[in-house]
Amino acid sequence: MIPLVRLAGRSPCWIVWATKWTRPYSTVDVSGTLEKLASVPKIHPLLIQRAEVMQAEFKTIEAKVAEGNFEQELSIRFSNLSIILDNYNQYKSDMAAFDELKELISEEGQDHELVEEAVAEIEATIPQVQRSVQVLQSRLLPQQKYSDKPCILELRPGVGGSEAALFTEDLMQMYINFANTKRWKHHIVSRSEGNNGFVNEVIISIDDPGAFQALRHESGVHRVQRIPLTESKGRIHTSTAAVVVLPKISEGNESSLKEDERLFAPGEVRIDTMRAGGKGGQHVNTTDSAVRLVHIPTGITVMQQDERSQPRNKAKAFSILRARLAALEREKEIVEQRRMRTDQVTTTDRSDKIRTYNYPQNRVTDHRCGFSLHDLTGCMAGSKLEELMEKVEEHEFEQRLEELIAQERKA
């Protein structure tokens, strides 16, 4: 049980009942209610600590605002904190009320009517409190990096030849459909084909500020089981496609290019333009606008060629490079944090399959949380994908909490 912080005023319901405290004896069975009460989730002490820190910060900001400081950053922080603290104070008063009600109903020789009312009150408020505890919990967990960024999705076929390429296109369409159902802006950044005429890479950009937060768990190997159109004997094939979700840091247009270029030290990025031989300049008029960036320290290579304009290809390439570097940095941080918490580094293997799309069974199973969605069609159409993603998100959320707890145990 967590230490309670009692609010200044007592809960209103308690006062009402106190005045009714007149009749003797209670025969109501309260054990079920007590059980339910015990099952109401509590905010983890670590998160309570965080809330207390926020409370203090809120006071200082409040003072500044009262003095007439209306800086944008300050006001944003102020309103963010006030939302969280509203939740937190609600939580505290809910818990205090529950405690007192609990005391009341478990006391010997209590007034019958009073106990009944208390039980009814508890039963009625539990679902609401449960919900608000969840909200508070998610607000108190440390913000994930880049949670306010749009995202870039990179999709590439894995094993399975042309069928893998077709599946890659299906996945791309699924994410585009998903973005459409959310009314999120999106566009195809680039698409390239191998010599066989099949796609070997598609990059799409989903330009909503919440897109990275929503889609980040889509990274990994997606597996498909179905009978390819080309398969004459009706056998089920298994193929894969890899999805990489990156936080989108820069716009990838001519105006973002200047800043992007400035961010790198001279010589950190090698820029190759793929020019035909010959003397160039007035001698040549072929459009050869492809650009390749090589980030020397990491070896990351980005190639862009879809635009007729070389600076536009370059701007896109820089935007992708920055997204990949940000993702790399984020991964490192996560690994580092885990190591600090648990002494053991458990990274998910990049080659691990995260999800299977089984067409004959109209089923999509996510292997991380073990959840199966029995509506593959709805998933590919974008409307049911969110249900699946929520399950993964829940699972990840629990893991993060467990890690926090593990860290607390260590400390």
Binding site: N195, T273, K279, G280, H283, S289
Partner: protein
């Protein structure tokens, strides 16, 4: 025309019926596909076939699509006027960034000789006005009426609200050029004059020559030239108008050397710069008060 292997044609056919003709202009299938995509993206369906036929006869894609991206701008292109090149786009972008950040003078006058489609003044204007505390007045001139008309057309399309850019039809070799130009003051002279010697114009790509598409479709008036253009730029404009800095595009080290020799002992610093694929591309010069220009020079001598 290089022979196209049957295997390549089969491969192209597999992708699209429209692709094989494009192989004549693009020996690599990936490039042909890219061009097909651009044609499909930019032209209505009923023009695809015609566009592909024209391209298979080596007509430049830019004349077929009607535009060439140039920095953030789209420049309209028409037969009879040179298509803007990426190398020009590159040095113009560098120059405008430098001027915007380093130029001590805030109201600056630029002349672009041999302006063609007008791409250089239009991009400079786009980059300088609005994005920095610099305001610029730019005059571009060309001898060709077709170029003059297209430049004005591009000006009207892109930005006719500002009187910062003007085009004139003038001959660089005219004896009364300075009077005809009729600008009081010039800080920077830029130019991409014709710089291909005649013998190179008529030889193949592999012999320092030009692409067949260039020779067949772009105006020789815009391409054939040697030192006489650099000499005229210096003797007709730089010296009499006391211009303080210049950037001239070129294609040969000999042309750099010519400019250096010409200005020796006249109080000029002269340098050169390469383009993004490492080829010699510009000669530039500046007088002391404009020495921020040396940032562009990779190699210099005074």
């Amino acid at each position: 025309m290089p022979r196209i292997s049957p295997r390549l044609v089969r491969e192209a056919l597999w992708h699209s019926r429209l692709l094989p003709p494009l192989l004549r202009a693009n020996p690599e299938i990936a490039m042909a596909k890219q061009e097909l995509r651009w044609i499909k993206n930019e032209l209505p369906r009923d023009q695809w076939r015609d566009a592909i036929t024209r391209r298979s006869k080596l007509e430049p894609l830019q004349y077929i699509l009607g535009t060439q991206p140039f920095g953030e701008l789209d420049i309209e292109c028409r037969p009879g006027v040179l298509i803007p090149r990426w190398e020009t786009e590159e040095w113009v972008t560098k120059l405008s960034n430098l001027v915007a950040s380093r130029c001590p003078k805030k109201n600056i006058h630029i002349v672009d000789a041999c302006t063609g489609s007008g791409c250089v003044p239009l991009l400079l204007n786009h980059q300088l006005n609005g994005q920095s505390d610099i305001s610029s007045q730019i005059v571009g001139f060309d001898i060709s009426l077709e170029a003059f008309n297209l430049a004005n057309h591009n000006l009207a399309r892109i930005d006719n609200s500002t009187p910062n850019v003007k085009f004139k039809q003038l001959n660089l070799f005219s004896e009364s050029l300075v009077q005809e130009l009729a600008v009081d003051e010039v800080d920077i002279l830029v130019s991409n004059p014709p710089y291909i010697p005649k013998e190179d114009f008529y030889s193949s790509m592999y012999m320092n020559g030009v692409e067949k598409s260039v020779r067949l479709y772009e105006p020789a008036l815009a391409l054939i030239g040697e030192n006489e253009f650099y000499e005229a730029l210096l003797a007709q404009l730089i010296l009499p108008m006391k211009i303080k800095a210049f950037v001239f595009e070129l294609g040969y080290q000999l042309q750099v050397d010519f400019v250096k020799t010409f200005l020796e002992g006249k109080g000029w610093e002269v340098g050169s710069m390469n383009d993004g694929s490492g080829k010699i591309r510009c000669v530039l010069g500046w007088r002391k008060e404009m020495d921020f220009m040396q940032k562009l020079a990779e190699e210099k001598s005074s």
